[in-house]
Subunit: 218 residues, 2 copies
DNA sequence: GGCAGAAGCTGAGATAGCGTCAGATCGGTC
DNA sequence: GACCGATCTGACGCTATCTCAGCTTCTGCC
């Protein structure tokens, strides 16, 4: 199974499975797309550019992808494959003294993940929010487990009486995930205003712990 | 002063000020852009389409705008002009019993604002996050006052001892604004998973109050 | 080594939107 | 009813998309 979630081997636009040479060409095209997207907005990334940078021709690109978007969809899927590792950091996030360090480590890992894949994730989010099902699916695959984890934590906090019954756990999970994702996307714009990355990590981690477990650290 | 923040009257691409007929044509073009953007992603909105829908020609469009993006920039600036009204709702958000209703009203107003301008705001955010200064500026103009308000509230909470000293007020403000903005953008995708708009409003409002004032409502 | 067939690649071309400019049209004025 | 500035557009050259038919390269077989 590929990282896009399709079953079976990688195929070209006609459904034919790819041999080793073709796979290498396809990889070069993906890598070229990734690099170009780091340099300029999607609108300015032409298929010709991708092909040239990959040392091949536009026609070859179209053999493997419907267009730049489809290549980005696959890059987003690959990024999603990294999420389990990032979520690992959340293991220690349970009421108690280990909560804050775990939250910090998680926030740091999440931001690093975003910094690695910023351009791709921005396109993913725009496409998903604009109604593109494929991108919405990849996004859900990446963030769903985070939402669930935070929701479960909130629900647990409610059971133990530390978190208000008036919160909806899923909405709370979504809200907390929003902070982490949004600030990851934005921290570069925030830093010039005097908020350091460490301020962001510390503040976000503390909000996570406070809201999800109901017990403010300190 | 126009809503883009430029001084003086509206001008065309050659800097010539517009007469009443031209202003009407320009307005039709803006409205057509808005409507098309609600129907499909920016990538699929051609200048030809905008012109046709406005009952004019592509050449006319180029007389007033460099391209679709510039039209959207102006639409985003107009949306930003609505923000003071939305922020009005925040007036009552101070420690005390009025905090929760004020927070609810604010969250509702903010979501309604997003629902009105969703397509434009998505493009604005993508462009801003991709490094486009003009869009970043409009975005700051819209959200800056919200950030400041929430940061001030948090700082006040710290002074009165209700909010942890370890939070950075500006980071906290940004985090809370993130929730509101992100969930406004996302609530449509969340609803199918069983989280109602009211759940979202209630949960977000409570998190706002709890984090910013340090006193959980209840 | 040489050859057949499969695998992979691309040149060339039809199509479509972009952005410009010279000139047509409109609408008010005398 | 002729003029004039304001406004609009037809037409054109350009660039990028996307598609084939056919070319090149590889592989295994004799």
């Amino acid at each position: 199974m590929t990282s896009t979630g399709q079953a079976g081997p990688v195929v070209d636009q006609n459904g034919r499975p790819l041999g080793p040479r073709a796979l290498r060409t396809r990889s070069r095209l993906l890598e070229a797309t990734r690099r170009l997207l780091d340099e300029r907005p999607l609108r300015d990334v032409a298929v010709v550019d991708i092909a040239r940078r990959a040392g091949t021709s536009p026609a070859t690109f179209y053999q493997y992808f419907k267009g730049p978007e489809e290549a980005i969809l696959e890059l987003a899927a690959r990024a999603a494959d990294e999420m389990p590792g990032v979520l690992e950091e959340l293991r220690g996030l349970a009421p108690g003294p280990g909560a804050l360090p775990a939250a910090r480590a998680f926030v740091r890992a999440f931001i690093a993940h975003w910094d690695r894949h910023r351009a791709v994730l921005l396109v993913r989010n725009l496409a998903a929010e604009s109604g593109d099902r494929r991108f919405a699916r990849v996004r859900r695959r990446a963030l769903g487990p985070l939402l669930e984890r935070l929701a479960a934590l909130t629900a647990e906090g409610q059971r133990s009486g530390n978190v208000s019954r008036h919160l909806n756990p899923h909405a709370g999970g979504a809200a907390l995930a929003s902070i982490v994702e949004r600030l990851s996307a934005y921290h570069r714009e925030l830093e010039p205003t005097g908020v350091s990355l460490e301020d962001l990590v510390e503040t976000t981690a503390r909000i996570l712990v406070q809201v999800a477990t109901g017990t403010p650290p300190d």
